[in-house]
Amino acid sequence: MISRLGKLLPDKLARLAGLGVLAFIVMAAFAPLIAPQDPAATDLFRRLQPPAWLDEGDWAFPLGCDALGRDILSRIIFGARVSIFIGVVVVLLATVIGVMAGLAAGYLRGATDRLISGLVDVLLGFPYLIFAVGLMAMMGPGVLNMVLALAYKEWVVPCRLVRGETLAARETEYVEAARAMGASSLSIMVGEILPNILSPVIVVGTVRIAQVIILEASLSFLGLGVQPPTASWGSMVADGRAFILDAWWVSTFPGLAILLLVLCINVASQAVRDALDPRFHD
């Protein structure tokens, strides 16, 4: 009974989390249709207007307004676009680069491996955020630059994973068989090894999306993210920080949005791992 509950609960949680992620994606995709207000429309008369259920609130602006009188709910809805876009694009880009580099290092070994692994070690030596801040300061703010700054280091994660898996796979019989049949290195890497190591890559990718979203928020919080008036959750938290004593809603709601999306992705990705990782099957 208890064990059944234990199995069911994470399953239901995962489903809920999956729905949550889906809801955020729908929200981002249809932001202009969902948002009650123009996220960039300022109205100084509504400066720091509280959420609707408090005194002076207004249901047209359910979560209240920021320092320039912009609707916080609408900005959160539009901000989901930035967070999800950057999370997905950075991880995709990093995965493509990381998988190629990892395959080459793990299969070819020798000088290639030393070069790639050396680079990976150097990059791992830098704290992620400081590295990204440095790059952003050099390149200037903006969405594209942020994607590049994050991908510069993010590829290391799938690369290390793929290298390890490839090292193990290259000694297996199916690879040996392919080699014996005269297949080229490239076709062995892409045709034989890659399909067999793909599931851990997908699992790690889903987890990393959540990490990248937090990093995006951190960079935006530090003022290195997207340019105003585009809403980004991190910059919304930063903008509200000054008013935290008397207008808590400005920072709190975008902060909750970050928390919720990252939580949903993490729980859902655990379910993905359970489904894909053979070690977790009975």
């Binding site: 100084l44 320092a67 320039l68 340019q227 008036p229």
Partner: protein, 509 residues
């Protein structure tokens, strides 16, 4: 009537109530750590505020910002290029040594000579304008020799603090940057970099200048200046009673501080003019009508009311109404979107213009508000937030002049027009971010810089300000008040427009 005993009782009670608590401690929550303790080696207002608790200058301000002699007894002009100063006798440094004419000559030589600070030239040299040399006439008199007439010298002397010759030579450039030997009311006990400065009342203090009321009994023995850069943390420290004074109280926290029964807000008219520099060298702001349109497009009163809680003075010219030579008759750029659109149409932009407003992080909120208001009037404005030094480089006078508009500010601590007109509006001035050039204005500024007759001199600047108002190289914004949060236990303190902390008479009940 039995009023007399009652009065006596009341007086006694008041006396008891106000009796100074001995060995009391004053704590200040301050935004920035001093860059250095060397009075000659910085260009930072905050650093100067801290240094002035330990050091004095030849000239100071009284509470109404009037100039008063401090370490000198008087100054007199021998001729337009020579000023004589009589040294105040009996002033002692914290080390116990008496201040002499040699110390003053040494101080100014160190400021004026190239490479005098361990091979580096003082960044404060520019604040002394055409001062060529300071020479000792006798033990109680020094003379300032200028290369051209410069009547603003006494006002500019408030920016320089006198150091001890023997201490500076002994301590070296490194020593004077981390320790002190000033003449001020407090001496340094310890400087924990980035954290706090611990100061102790200096027994040797001479008491201050004659224009400043005489110092009473020492109320506080120690002062701790705690560095709290984060606005919310600084306000929280005040509300919690951890500190008695905080500087740079954010306007939106005024309500919170006033609502607390133990704290209050104090304000003083600032000296820093805020404006949006418009690039006069390229389209669309090369056309004066477009620049005037931008000035009419902003509802500055609304912005001051909402963003600055009403704590600022609207400007239609360059500088504070309290400054010397301010023109009080400048017409207003009234908020008038229709007129703005008409001016744009007249300039050949019937469909409006697309421009970018540069700003650094601290100005983000104001920049976004300005952009939204300009956009409503047909000046469609994007905001580009950049890192401070990057943005400044972009708008440097010898830079590429690529930007459209930049929200910035210029401090005028001396409240003298030279200090703000010449750098920001003279052709090629180091802070001329609008790249403005008007030969008539240049001629007026040059004449004003030389003129020794105050009335004539003021007229030059009033004419210049009228021309600049009409040319509108800036969107004129406002002059914010400097806001401080204070504990209600604090007495004997008021904020100064100069930003100096003036701790001499402070008491904490």
């Amino acid at each position: 009537m039995r009023l007399k005993p009652l009065l006596i009782l009341a007086a006694a009670a008041a006396g008891l109530y106000f009796a100074p608590v001995s060995a009391a401690e004053l704590r200040i929550g301050f935004t920035l750590d001093p860059l250095t303790l060397d009075p000659a080696n910085h260009r930072s207002r905050e650093t100067e505020s801290v240094l002035r608790t330990m050091y004095n200058g030849l000239v100071a301000h009284d509470p109404s910002m009037k100039l008063v002699p401090e370490l000198i007894e008087s100054w007199t002009w021998i001729d337009p290029q020579t000023m004589e100063a009589k040294i105040r006798p009996g002033v002692r440094f914290h080390s116990g040594e008496t201040m002499t004419a040699d110390d003053i000559v040494f101080t100014f030589t160190r400021l004026l000579a190239d490479g005098a600070i361990a091979g580096q030239t003082s960044p404060r040299k520019g604040l002394l304008g055409p001062t060529r040399e300071v020479v000792k006439l006798n033990d109680s008199t020094v003379r300032f020799l200028l290369t051209e007439p410069w009547p603003v010298l006494p006002a500019m002397l408030t920016f320089q603090e006198v150091v001890s010759k023997s201490f500076t030579e002994k301590a070296g450039a490194g020593g004077i940057a981390t320790t002190e030997d000033g003449t001020g009311p407090f001496k340094l006990v310890q400087w924990r970099r980035g954290d706090s400065l611990v100061l102790e009342r200096a027994a040797s203090y001479f008491g201050g200048g004659p224009g400043i009321p005489k110092a009473g009994n020492a109320c506080i023995e120690r002062t701790i200046i705690k560095i709290i850069p984060e606005n919310a943390s600084r306000v929280a420290a005040l509300l919690a009673g951890d500190v008695h004074i905080i500087n740079e109280l954010p306007a939106h926290d005024i309500r919170t501080v006033e609502a607390n029964p133990n704290t209050a807000v104090m304000a003083v008219n600032g000296t820093r003019s805020f404006f949006v520099a418009l690039n006069t060298t390229k389209k669309p702001f090369d056309d004066v009508r477009v620049r005037q349109a931008a000035n009419h497009a902003l509802n500055r009163k609304l912005m001051i009311d909402k963003l600055l809680a009403g704590r600022a003075t609207k400007l239609d010219g360059v500088m504070s109404p309290a400054a010397f030579g301010h023109n009080p008759n400048l017409p207003e750029y009234a908020f008038d979107p229709k007129r703005a659109k008409d001016l744009l149409t007249a300039a050949g932009y019937p469909n409006g213009i697309d421009v970018t407003l540069d700003a650094d992080g601290p100005q983000k909120e104001t920049a976004e508000a300005i952009a939204a208001l300009l956009t409503q009037a047909g000046i469609r404005t994007k905001v580009a937030i950049g890192e401070g030094s990057q943005v400044r480089t972009r708008w440097a006078i010898n830079g590429k002049k690529e930007g459209d508009m930049w929200i910035t500010s210029w401090g005028n601590g001396s409240l003298d027009p030279t200090d703000i007109f010449e750098p920001t509006l003279q052709t090629g001035g180091r802070g001329n971010s609008a790249f403005y050039s008007n030969p008539k204005v240049d001629a007026l500024l040059a004449a004003g810089g030389r003129e020794t007759d105050a009335t004539k001199r003021a007229a030059f600047y009033q004419d210049a300000e009228a021309l600049i108002h009409a040319d509108a190289p800036w969107i004129f914004l406002w002059l914010p008040q400097d806001l401080y949060g204070v504990s209600r236990r604090l007495t004997g303190w008021s904020p100064a427009a100069s930003g100096w902390l003036n701790l001499r008479d402070v008491c904490v009940q």
